[in-house]
Symmetry: C2
Subunit: 387 residues, 2 copies
């Protein structure tokens, strides 16, 4: 593996070996690198091209030499270490097409209510790809571990990305959830048919469809079962929800449940905020995405061109998946009439999933100190010059 040289070459800079990135990506931070694609491009393709897939790194990107690399399993039946060669050659290749979303997607809307801690994400900290690799369940079965009978409460994943003190990024999901998803969790070495890019976890990323990105550990190094959650900062002191009366002076992270599956969300990707439509335009074409966690497919997307007074149903583009195992997003499009005689108006979208969960109306009602789970109705203001 050849590390792509970044501009910064200070030998003491932990970020000295970052990969090269598409100049189209819009960074929300440089070190660690976090970036989203232009939101208008996002809704153009069902499968987000690898170099346009949003990047969420918590730490420097590890520079992995395949000769030294192993994936380490700590199991009741032994502690096998698998080489990349063994993983890619000795197991059937399984694929899942899934949307991955950062818990902080659309955080910038929350910031407008009251400041929060976190990257100032727009609406594109979400992307969709086909991941291929080894079935986690088949891997465990190979080592005589039955995930349905393992005595533990969590499955824990550790990455090769490390903090200054040398401790790795880590995350876990409840074993109950891992059992439900056992045929869908994969240890991925491919993304959209290409070798997994460095920014997306090369050589291996665990893909847990329907679950927040933060648990789908990149640069995967170790998997084990535990009676407790990952002890990492990101599992215990981050990625949790709170009500809007909880702020940093009164927060108790131990009292909140870690985010795993995500709620229903949608966004208008085109037009973007502040767009000036054609003078005298009588209708507008909206495009965007809708998605829900837990494999819950999208059954309806409602759009409005008058701030939510009247609604129209968008046309959904089928994602080819079944309603209860629908891990990929649903792209949608709608041509709807504009209110006449107004120089500006607010476009709105809200989606419904197969369990008839809906998005909340307001950002204020779901504001939280970390700015996670920002899934209110999405609003975009546009102007319509006189003809």
């Amino acid at each position: 593996d050849v590390a792509v040289r970044s501009k910064s070459r200070d030998a003491n800079d932990p970020f000295k070996d970052e990969p090269s990135r598409s100049p189209l990506l819009i960074p929300s931070s440089q070190k660690p690198f976090n970036a989203e694609p232009p939101v208008q491009l996002l809704a153009e393709k069902f499968l987000t091209p690898n170099d346009m897939f949003f990047v969420r790194n918590h730490l420097p990107v590890p520079c992995v030499c395949l000769d030294d690399y192993t994936l380490d399993l700590d199991l009741s039946t032994g502690k096998p270490s698998l080489t990349y060669q063994q993983l890619t050659q000795n197991f059937p290749k399984r694929s899942v097409t899934t949307t991955i979303q950062c818990a902080g997607n659309r955080r910038s809307e929350m910031v407008k209510i009251k400041p929060v801690k976190g990257l100032n994400w727009g609406s594109a900290a979400i992307s969709n790809a086909k991941f291929s690799g080894v079935s986690l369940n088949e891997l465990l079965q190979h080592y005589n571990v039955n995930i349905d009978t393992v005595r533990a409460k969590y499955i824990v994943f550790e990455g090769l990305d490390v903090q200054p003190d040398g401790s790795p990024y880590g995350a876990s999901i409840p074993l109950e959830l891992a059992r439900m998803l056992k045929n869908d969790i994969i240890v991925a070495y491919e993304m959209n048919g290409e070798i997994l890019p460095r920014d997306h976890g090369y050589p291996l990323r665990v893909i847990i469809p329907g679950v927040v990105g933060a648990r789908q550990v990149k640069w995967l190094k170790k998997i084990y079962f535990s009676p407790e959650e990952s002890t990492s900062h990101w599992q215990r002191r981050d990625y949790k929800g709170f009500n809007s009366s909880i702020d940093w002076h009164n927060v108790d992270f131990d009292k909140s449940v870690s985010i795993s599956q995500l709620p229903v969300i949608s966004a208008i990707c085109d037009p973007v905020e502040g767009t000036e439509l054609e003078p005298g335009a009588e209708e507008v074409t909206l495009k965007g995405y809708a998605w829900s966690g837990g494999g819950r497919g999208i059954i309806r997307v409602d759009v409005s061109a008058d701030g939510g007074n009247t609604w129209h149903e968008a046309t959904l583009k089928p994602n080819g998946q079944t309603p209860y195992r629908s891990y990929a997003w649903t792209l949608w499009e709608a041509d709807i009439p504009l209110p006449q005689g107004q120089s500006k108006t607010e476009l709105v979208v809200k989606a419904v999933d197969v369990s008839y969960n809906v998005q909340p109306d307001s950002v204020a009602g779901i504001w939280n100190l970390r700015g996670c789970l920002s899934n209110a109705w999405h609003r975009v203001n546009v102007t319509v010059p006189s003809p």
Copy 2:
């Protein structure tokens, strides 16, 4: 089985054989009988007593003579008819504690926005009980039918309750959903340890936990697989969601997905709307329920005594179930400070499920022509006289 005599004994009245009912139940219609318990009593008990369990009948209650009764299965391997004796004696007894909710629970709040068609339910068209009976999966396996490989798209249930034209009540769920729930669907003959009451489906009701009540067919007579949904009125022309710009002049029921799993909901059961609190009261004790469909457990309940400006976390009473197979509701309680110097205030509750789905803020945003799925933040206005 002895039919309890109702007051109306007109031989031509299809409702002449209705069972007797608790006088505490509050009817929303008499023929067919529909009723909810007093909402304050609802939150008192985790298991709703049978005579207080909300009643949702679409048609007259059938008067079933066990000697004549069979449950008929129409399977690829044959058409077995099972007697009550066979069902109750020849299979292991399985139990599930689950909340059942009418799709129209809390409809009366929607009516205030704009009229809808449907029973004017308050907040108590929901109850919780322990149901026991035969596992549907074990029943099918007994007849060599593997639900995972059946060639069909839906599983259909028919009741003994019939329309004037003789056609039965019917409902279906997608086979994909039935497969996910296969270890939890039961053909119940007991409710809270007693013989299933007539109003709740005597002798048999199919229990499909996490799914709307309307699909859990009572007075169960027939089960079969089909390439299409039940053709009943209630499956095809009712129990579907629409946006608030769809009304009877422009509705197309074929375009909407049938309600199966329900979204997250909660309600304040005590105090009730219009309650006059103690003069000069400085705090108030709220009690209520929270529940989500799809087995998604409740992880947080937020309550407010000032119309939603400030929030407090309610204390949840554990339901004894696991987070992803949590079919029973979560009762909760909270003592919270009242805003001082105000003679009236609005109490509010909203809940969060394990997938971090939240309730929508407003009833207006989810209004629909049938008044289903009314799960906005629940608001109760109370007065506080001067001390």
